[in-house]
């Protein structure tokens, strides 16, 4: 990413350390932040009848939180730190305004978001197939798409 775009990101970024067990955001709450995970582990969960169901685990080098991008701007899942986790947190409103004002920046950001969410969708669909048809033979099961962590590596200057 170009320096001028990193500057836009830096304007609304803050470093944060999250202790294990801390709920980072809750289902249906206002989604007003975007996270890059530097290290640690965060579990995305949803609440069924009394129980929590794990949806996905995200860790070092990965991005967290997409619901700030589009209406209704509410989190779909709950995120909880499983380990001591260091993140960079961005103010979503600032990012959205910057995207609309500066389409060079907006294109760069959206292109990266699109890539990450497409890989996650492909991976989630594989998991769903495995869940519904556990007898799928191993040679029919593709490996999980490569980690997307490197996408964000240039951010750590």
């Amino acid at each position: 990413m170009r320096d001028e775009h990193l500057d836009i990101l830096a304007e609304c970024a803050a470093a944060q350390t999250i202790e294990p067990g801390t709920v980072i955001f809750r289902e249906n709450e206002l989604a007003d932040r975007f996270f890059l995970i530097l290290d640690g582990r965060v579990e995305l969960e949803t609440r069924g009848n009394k129980h929590e169901f794990p949806v996905q685990t995200v860790g070092a080098g990965e991005a967290l939180g997409w619901s700030w991008l589009f209406p209704p701007f509410r989190w779909h899942f709950e995120a909880q730190a499983r380990e001591r986790t260091r993140v960079i947190v961005f103010t979503a409103a600032h990012l959205l305004v910057a995207c609309e004002r500066n389409h060079d920046f907006g294109y760069e950001l959206m292109k990266r978001v699109a890539q990450v969410v497409i890989l996650r969708l492909q991976s989630a669909r594989r998991h769903l197939l495995d869940a519904n048809w556990p007898s799928r033979s191993p040679d029919e099961t593709r490996t999980t798409p490569p980690t997307t962590g490197n996408l964000w590596a240039p951010l750590k200057r």
């Binding site: 997409w66 294109y107 869940a131």
Partner: protein
């Protein structure tokens, strides 16, 4: 406005797109129809097309045992189909098959990517729409994963 431009302008995915950007898209659009049962693309084949579905239903599937097909998702009129042209390695991850006669318009992926890189206003508009659709599908797929876990009784703690 040409016929193709009129056709794509009415598709929900492109709702609100400027006439300038619609024209860019129309210049590289092709109409394509499929018969019921016809394969639109195959898992592992090179991915270079992005489809807007005008009419009909398409099943996204994965190959199962003994030539059976495992359904992943069904998309229909007003939906879009195909993301693998966006990012390397540019291979389809699933099969897509027409469940009934399908009327569609497609764009060449390589052309779209070039146009995005050349014109970031266009690129931003396209990526914003892609991101929104993929995030909704991701959220829906994760919801299905949770349902599958609930059904099997796994995942509760």
């Amino acid at each position: 406005m040409g016929t193709l431009e009129t056709l794509i302008a009415g598709h929900p995915f492109l709702h609100g797109l400027s006439s300038e950007h619609l024209k860019i898209l129309a210049d590289s659009a092709m109409q394509s129809n499929f018969q019921a049962g016809e394969l639109i693309f195959r898992d592992g084949d090179p991915a270079n097309r992005f489809y807007l579905i005008l009419d009909g239903k398409v099943a996204i599937e994965a190959a199962g045992r003994e030539q059976s097909e495992l359904p992943v998702q069904t998309v229909g009129a007003g939906d879009v189909l195909g993301w693998s042209w966006l990012f390397p390695p540019y291979y389809w991850h699933f099969d897509a098959r027409a469940l009934e006669p399908v009327r569609a318009v497609f764009f060449y992926g390589t052309r779209l990517r070039e146009q995005c890189e050349q014109d970031h206003h266009f690129g931003y508009e396209l990526m914003k729409r892609v991101t929104q659709v993929v995030i909704r599908r991701l959220q829906a797929t994760r919801g299905q994963l949770v349902e599958a876990a609930l059904k099997s009784g796994a995942g509760s703690r």
